[in-house]
Symmetry: C2
């Protein structure tokens, strides 16, 4: 192919993603943009307004504008959003890394509060937003949307995976039987997903412990960890379970057992490789959202009255704020009732930060919206188009505007901790808190004489988490770690036999 | 979707890869099989016959048989071989890692011999096989194959990427002008691909050196290295250059400059992550080849006379042996004429090993065959089908039978070095030879007083490589490394500021 033909194809590359060359063009563009995001994000690191998600969004928007102008308004996205792409390739690394890097001690110590906010809180938010949407939108004329669509809106903007189960129910006949069935389905989904994740994690720990003692191979171990983590997610998808839950708990289990069974090199490699993959996936996603925001197709459908679009987006945004407030403040109050010391209570400043931090809708909301309201990336119906555009608007606005205000807000509300709190909960910076430190912390605590053996039921009732942790530690040391490995139960190995140690020969 | 529907879809999952659920099934299967390959490969590590490529092939074959029986002979592959998949996703990591891990000192010291064998040798092999194919196959009745097809066969079984340029020429009018044009095209391709790879490598080194001094971030650096390496390959594909050459030289440059500019954690991570990705890609490929070997479609087309198929495969195999021998022995002889000491000469035992080791056709042959002889993974024409089946047979036979005989052969021919030579040149074991050791070696040599400053033209003529290396070292230290970084030119940094050192808090 001469250069002339290549140039032609590049110009036409934006139309249709079926041609091989078009996909080569797309991939080139996205990889180059990803590099630009990393570089710019680094340069703007000290900036008080902009973080990396915002950088990615802005770069995506600019690119979308450029493509729009180049193709004279025909198309702004050169990669059709495929739910496959998101749910099968982008989401798993993000969630797995979250589980892998979670500070287990803090996570399980505050498990009750986390479950309260996470499950009950999401429910409250879901009902608030759904009811608000039904109450307000049914009075406006925005096309063919039914009860199911409004509930989907509630789910999308509360954005928890398990809530998707709702979409499978016949919502015209809601009665006690349906509610019970829903609850039962929810519990089944939750428990089996968690079990699957834990099972795969333990299996990987056992396999590596049995296979590689005495004959380590860093590359094989890393490959095995990566593949089994991904397998857990795909198995969950195959069995119609919650892939997010599965891969999250798989990450937790792997970091507790499997990670300790491998060589030192493997530990460093997996820790950073997982974080890097998660970072790339997130940036790619925000990049895409930014580019897709200007997709003419959708806006043409929804552009009957721009005022209505803006109105709907504002209402949704308002519902998100109200929905989150509806559970953060009441539940914090409830949670504080159970705390004895003032130090453990959640102050009102912290409550505002918690409320604020969760306002930013992101990756999962977009994906759910696309999943619900499009066919193969193209929006056909008027009502659906409005929902997509509104979701995109809400995500963009919340991420960019709320995101920009976050750093100053935290500095204002919590001045003492402003140098350790990051503006974006999922920012890679927060993921650098090393596993090693957190594990060291937990070890230290275990070793001290501060742990009093719970000798009565009263102690169990007054310090439930403490007691549970004590018995878990005994169970873990007596049964789990001897079988599955874990820190202190596996001999140290710096690298593969044929490998020099990390510090050799520098 | 109830479990009943899921079961149905799983059963039907083998038909058609368009459905989402079918791809979930495929991915599950492949990931599970990859894990099985790793485990089995490890268990069979001490086996004298079987290496990991063979293990992957066998597992693929068995799975193909199982699927064939399950679908009652309808289809044996559940993932249509997409050239995109291979050329865009599987091949880049394999080639990049090869470049990244290459022992640069040995590579460039023996550069002339390598080029001789690689370029001239491949040419000889190509002509031998093509002429042999034309001479023998045109006498047999195997369907519609023209001169271009026979030359393609020569290219496929000599398997060098640059030779693909030949496929674009009008082969009915071969004259001096065409030959010159071909040579010119070849040189342009070779030089620009190499230049692009070097350029992207240097760019990444420069960027990381400028951006991250004083403020390292391991995850960003690793992400940047990965993305820029992949970008180099995709740019080459976009500009119709040789992606393989580009990404190979990008790997070499990155290992010389970029790798030294990053944190210690990044160094460990990238070294192992690249090797792991390469390993996974190769295993996946052999798995697929094993599964696809039993694709009924192709064999139906080619099964007019099984005897003819076997005959053709045998002839091709014979041509491969002859073609390789046609250059290994003569060129070794030529190369030995330039060596002074007996120690540097290639002994006849080593020549046999060189000849043998290169017989095993692999990934690139399969991909090229598919590229040339199929449309979207389905073989339509009789002649094409025969070529595909023959290629698969040759690859399977050479990998498995020759592969199995390699370890014993080497032990027989080169008993002294049998414990360091691996049977499979691309086996991950050989990739464990640490960069660190090889770099240490080259540093030591540079530091010793053994390097005599070449003071005359006579020295340049008598020890060309030595002289070139001397001047390269001077140029590198004076100009390149100060600008692009490299060992000794960048302050040591163990990890990101927020990271504990690798050994902290264990």
């Amino acid at each position: 192919m001469g250069l002339g033909v290549v140039a032609q194809l590049v110009r036409l590359g934006v139309v249709g993603s079926t041609s091989d060359h078009a996909s080569v063009v797309s991939i080139n563009l996205f990889v180059a943009l990803l590099c630009a995001c990393i570089v710019l994000g680094h340069l703007l690191e000290e900036n008080r307004w902009v973080n990396e998600s915002i950088t990615a969004l802005i770069i995506g928007l600019c690119t979308g504008v450029v493509i729009l102008l180049t193709t004279k308004g025909k198309s702004s996205h050169i990669l059709v959003f495929s739910e496959d792409l998101f749910f099968i390739y982008l989401l798993p690394p993000i969630i797995f890394n979250a589980g892998f890097q979670v500070k287990k001690k803090q996570f399980f110590r505050n498990f009750m509060t986390i479950t309260l906010f996470g499950a009950v809180g999401t429910m409250i938010s879901f009902f608030t937003i759904s009811l608000g949407a039904i109450a307000i939108f049914s009075r406006m004329n925005i096309g063919t949307l039914d009860v199911g669509d409004f509930l989907a809106i509630g789910a999308i903007f509360s954005a928890t995976d398990s809530v998707c189960t709702l979409q499978n129910f016949d919502l015209n006949h809601i009665d006690v039987a349906v509610v019970l069935k829903f609850l039962g389905n929810f519990c089944y989904l939750f428990l089996s997903s968690t079990f699957l994740g834990v099972f795969v994690g333990l299996l990987s720990a056992y396999m590596i412990k049995k296979l590689y003692i005495g004959r380590h191979s860093t590359d094989r171990e890393v490959a095995l960890m990566m593949l089994m983590a991904y397998l857990s997610y795909m198995l969950a998808e195959l069995l119609d379970l919650s892939g997010i839950l599965t891969v999250f708990f798989c990450g937790i289990v792997m970091s507790h057992y499997t990670w300790h069974n491998v060589t030192e090199s493997s530990r460093v490699t997996t820790k950073h490789a997982f974080a890097t993959l998660s970072f790339i996936a997130e940036t790619f996603l925000f990049l895409y959202v930014g580019m897709d925001a200007l997709d003419i197709e959708k806006w043409e459908f929804a552009s009957d009255s721009p005022g209505k679009s803006i109105g709907i987006s504002s209402i949704l945004l308002g519902l998100v704020l109200v929905g989150r407030a509806a559970f953060v403040f009441p539940l914090s109050f409830l949670s504080n009732l159970t705390k004895k010391t003032p130090l453990e209570k959640i102050t009102w400043r912290q409550q505002i930060v918690i409320w604020w931090a969760g306002l930013m809708r992101g990756a999962v909301s977009i994906a759910l919206a696309y999943n619900k309201f499009t066919r193969s990336g193209h929006t056909q119906l008027h009502g659906n188009a409005i929902m997509i555009t509104s979701t995109i608007t809400v995500v963009l606005f919340s991420t960019m505007v709320f995101g920009m205000m976050t750093k100053p807000l935290i500095r204002f509300l919590l001045p003492a901790s402003s140098n350790t709190v990051t503006s974006e909960p999922s920012s890679p910076k927060s993921l650098h808190s090393p596993l090693l430190t957190s594990m060291q912390g937990s070890d230290l605590e275990t070793a001290t004489a501060n742990i009093v053996r719970p000798s009565s039921l009263r102690m169990l009732l007054s310090k439930p988490t403490h007691t549970v942790h004590y018995y878990w530690r005994k169970f873990d040391d007596a049964l789990m770690r001897p079988m599955f490995g874990g820190r202190g139960f596996v001999p140290f190995s710096p690298g593969s036999p044929t490998e020099q140690s990390v510090h050799g020969g520098r």
